[in-house]
């Protein structure tokens, strides 16, 4: 095929109308769609990072690490996996969309990815001061459908753990205590304690313990009285389930 022939062939396809220009609106919609998906992915990654931070700070998760290496299993059992996985998925998605954009190839992708992750972490940390995560937690236990979207992500913070337990003491007995957790009342047996706690659990106090759940009872190996301000998610969960009871100090 000579130069002229190819030109004629292509131009005849064009002038006959068999080949048409794709509408500019398609390209506009494509760009808009990509841009919106990118912004949404970044916002969701920020939100999930923020919720993960909030979870770590407000739940009993980190408190198990204060028991040393024996608290690791309880820590792992209460870790916010779903929040972390969701955050990673959205960061990954945002990275993919960024890579597809027209400008991203001008700079090494490693720098852009680092910038993206840095932005998500910084924004997520700043958001922690906004009160948004507390509102999301509250909404996730309300009956409103919009709030309930987040329930699966926050539920783990109040779930039953096999290796750890946290809640409010409602009864003390000989070698055991009963505590209210956000789920139920749990009998914590203290006869197998490896260390005596510096402060004995008293009614109305919040405690965390590590050990093992056996049937209906929790066999504690170590227990610690906590300041209820250190376990705000547990405190709110207990209050939601059992109400804000005032205990008379003996």
């Amino acid at each position: 095929m000579s130069n002229n022939e190819l030109e004629k062939k292509v131009m005849s396809e064009i002038t006959s109308g068999r080949i048409k220009l794709r509408s500019k609106y398609i390209f506009f919609a494509e760009k808009l769609g990509l841009g919106s998906a990118f912004v949404l992915s970044v916002l969701l990654a920020v939100l999930f990072f923020n919720l993960a931070l909030f979870y770590l700070k407000a739940s009993d998760n980190l408190s198990y690490l204060s028991f040393g290496s024996r608290g690791v299993l309880a820590f792992l059992g209460s870790f916010p996996y779903l929040l972390i996985v969701s955050m990673v998925v959205f960061i990954f998605l945002a990275g993919l969309l960024l890579k597809r954009s027209d400008v991203s190839y001008k700079k090494p992708f490693g720098y852009l990815a680092l910038g993206l992750v840095g932005f998500i972490m910084l924004s997520g940390s700043v958001m922690a001061f906004s009160g948004i995560p507390e509102r999301i937690e509250r909404e996730s236990y309300s009956q409103r459908p919009s709030g309930r979207i987040f329930r699966p992500f926050m539920r783990h913070g109040l779930g039953e753990r096999r290796r750890g337990v946290a809640g409010r003491v409602v009864e003390t007995g000989d070698g055991y205590i009963n505590i209210q957790t956000p789920r139920s009342v749990v009998k914590v047996v203290l006869s197998a304690l490896q260390n005596q706690p510096s402060e004995m659990p008293a009614t109305g106090k919040f405690v965390t313990a590590i050990g093992e759940k056996k049937g209906d009872v929790f066999m504690a190996l170590n227990i610690r009285v906590m300041n209820e301000r250190d376990l705000p998610m547990i405190r709110r969960g207990v209050h939601r389930r059992f109400g804000e009871v005032r205990f008379r100090r003996p």
């Binding site: 130069n3 062939k9 131009m11």
Partner: protein, 183 residues
Amino acid sequence: MAVLAKLTDEQIVEAVRLRDKELYSEIIRRYQAKLTHYLRKFIGNQDELEDVLQVVFIKTYRNLYGFDTAKRFSSWIYRIAHNEAVNQIKKYSRKAISLDENEWELIDDKMDVNEKTDASLFKAKVERGLTMISKKYRDPIVLYFFEQKTYEEISDILRLPRNTVGTLIMRGKGMLRGILAED
């Protein structure tokens, strides 16, 4: 015709989009020889090459609204041609590179290989060397040496950072020199 010759590619694209689709023939005239030269590196069969070239011009036309006229049109059309060549290579799992008659001289001049062997023998050696180095290095080398593209243009065609293009060309040259010296 003289007026048309003064228009830049980007101005012609603007005119095709807004007024006169017949003007697209000027784009074909401007790029047919250049793209044939480029695609021949990857596609040896003449009929296949013409089919691919036709697809490139049709795809370019169909997607003209996707081109940002603030950017360089030549890089954009080369990118389309490059992608089509890659698809073709994948389709037939081909790796061989074929150079034009005297293109091996560019390698000889720019890399100071100073080969004293027979021209056709050296051409075959360069082709084999280019086939042996990985695609990652080969693509920028082909665009730089044989298509005379600048780093900036190669960056736009291959969608790589400008500095990476420089690094890949430098490393690719080193590999090619090593292969040529071994033979």
